[in-house]
């Protein structure tokens, strides 16, 4: 059996893994390996052929494959070793990773530091408790995107989309342009979690109706999907009798949220946060297992790949610092979610950090003309006003290292006022 040692091992060669690898190499790590399950690196960007990526990082609007290629080219220039078609089976708390590939068989790799960058998965039908039959023609929006954009198949002709996440909206346009009829986009919440831009350019442009506060209450069809029943829901999200609308369709796409893919993190004993479904990390993106780091969508679901890259550059540099034994030792400050805030990352900050720390969180509802406040007991550290906070857009406030000196308590709270 093939057994070897590396300094930094990165799991996943999507935007997070690529950025972490580039940053680790630029921080001086020679012995570096990236493992990727797919046959090419680039991750989910490979199938996101629409444009709009990279506005923050590159100041231009790229398509997904173009954004990924910039990092792939950089990784090649830095001679970073990426092993594709390789599936990681387990990660243990002592930093031993087992993986398999057709070309090398079973491998055991011992790493000084590990960066988890496995990304996320779509919430599947089973998790939505949709009623009705188990017929063919029901796909997650991302699966349909993969079929259309990477494999060249159309999954159906008459489509209803449940959920108004960005992937669902993007697929409404994509299916329409490819000749399908998209009958409706159905959202159980009174607002869409997708970007305005996507609602306008993917739904309005093609006269696709968006039914807010509606959901699918029945799915019909024996072999293949034949139709769905949609109904309005009340404030408690229960269907209202008498509001049913029938749609004659052969395809139902589900765009109902993303969940970090943490099976490997759990095998390593990494503590997960119930709010993000990702690891609990400190300001260096180190998890509860020393020397194991997490970044990108496996840590918390992002809206913008630019933020994924930015976070992952920091995680890669932190993994390099761990290998060099440059660890901070000061006590941890706990970061808590306050009113209107969910899933703040990082959850812990070492008080002697010398770098600014971005606190990233998701507003729990839509707030207009309000402020994000960071406070420690009675002491207000930051107040950042905004015209709007919405659950569809991750919010960010930056703490400067000097703000963390001489705090009156060992925890800080982020809230929306």
């Amino acid at each position: 059996m093939n057994e070897r040692n590396v300094d930094v091992l990165i799991i996943g060669a999507g935007p997070a893994g690529l950025a972490a690898a580039i940053s680790a190499r630029e921080s001086g790590i020679e012995s570096l390996l990236v493992l990727e399950r797919e046959k090419e690196s680039g991750g989910i960007l490979r199938q996101c052929i629409h444009n709009g990526f990279g506005l923050h990082r590159f100041k231009e609007e790229l398509t997904g494959p173009e954004y990924a290629q910039r990092d792939i080219d950089k990784a090649a220039e830095l001679e970073i070793d990426i092993e594709c078609s390789t599936t990681v089976l387990t990660v243990s708390s002592d930093h031993t990773v087992t993986c398999v590939s057709a070309s090398k068989g079973l491998q055991i790799i011992h790493a000084k530091a590990i960066v988890l960058a496995m990304g996320c998965r779509e919430r599947p039908r089973g998790a939505l408790c949709t009623p009705g039959t188990r017929c063919a023609g029901i796909y997650s929006a991302g699966t349909a995107q993969r079929f259309v954009n990477l494999e060249g198949f159309m999954p159906g002709k008459r489509v209803v989309i449940l959920g108004s996440g960005d992937i669902g909206l993007i697929m409404a346009r994509r299916m329409t342009l490819q000749g399908a009829k998209v009958l409706a986009c159905v959202e159980i919440m009174p607002y869409s979690s997708g970007l305005n831009r996507n609602i306008v350019q993917c739904l309005h442009d093609y006269d696709i109706p968006l039914y807010l506060s509606h959901t699918v209450i029945d799915i019909k069809g024996k072999e293949r999907l034949e139709g769905v029943t949609v109904a309005k829901v009340d404030e408690k999200r229960n269907p209202i009798p008498g509001t049913e609308i029938e749609f004659d369709c052969d395809t139902l796409l589900l765009s109902c949220g993303l969940i970090p893919e943490n099976e490997l993190s759990l095998s390593a004993g990494v503590e997960l946060s119930p709010a993000t479904s990702g690891a609990v990390v400190n300001e260096s993106f180190e998890t509860s297992v020393p020397g194991i780091f997490a970044c990108g969508n496996v840590l918390h679901v992002h809206d913008l790949v630019d933020h994924v890259s930015n976070e992952s550059f920091k995680a890669g540099a932190a993994a390099a610092a761990y290998v060099r034994n440059e660890q901070l030792a000061a006590p941890m400050i706990t970061v808590k979610d306050g009113n209107g805030v969910r899933g703040t990352v990082p959850q812990l900050i070492r008080s002697d950090t010398d770098k600014p720390v971005d606190l990233m969180f998701r507003p729990s509802a839509v707030f207009r003309n309000s402020a994000a406040v960071v406070e420690c007991g009675e002491k207000e550290l930051i107040r950042k006003k905004a015209m709007i906070f919405t659950p569809g857009e991750m919010a960010l406030v930056t703490i400067k290292p000097e703000m963390l000196k001489e705090l009156p308590a060992d925890s800080i709270t982020v809230r929306i006022e």
Partner: protein
């Protein structure tokens, strides 16, 4: 003549009302909260443009290649351009930025590849 549109520049999503002349010329906009909104409203109501992205089959390959318009094209041409693209076939190798179709429908805009294929 009045037209109502949603701004796409930021998450606020201002609902704006644009007043146009009989000939469709821009006169004024209300409901915007910033200058970017006004600019978008004028563009969107007089000459709306969109980037188009699609995939094109590659001869002898399982995987299609992704392409885009090199710059935004008039929104009203979206379906015509998609139709034009439906008959295009190319051969590997392809590199990012390579022109796949020149001056699509006389718009002056090329269709270019957005990924590499060896």
């Amino acid at each position: 003549m009045e037209q109502t549109i949603t701004c796409i520049n930021c998450p606020v999503g201002c609902r704006m009302t644009v007043t146009l002349s009989e000939q469709g010329a821009f006169i004024s906009v209300t409901g915007n909260t910033c200058p970017r909104g006004a600019k978008y409203a004028q563009q969107e109501c007089t000459l709306p443009e969109r980037m188009i992205t699609a995939v094109i089959p590659v001869t002898g390959r399982e995987t299609p290649i992704s392409v885009k318009t090199a710059s935004p094209v008039p929104k009203k041409l979206i379906y015509d351009i998609m139709n034009e693209l439906s008959s295009v076939r190319i051969s590997a190798p392809v590199t990012i930025g390579q022109v796949i179709l020149q001056d699509v429908l006389h718009t002056g805009v090329d269709i270019i590849a957005t990924r590499n294929l060896a």
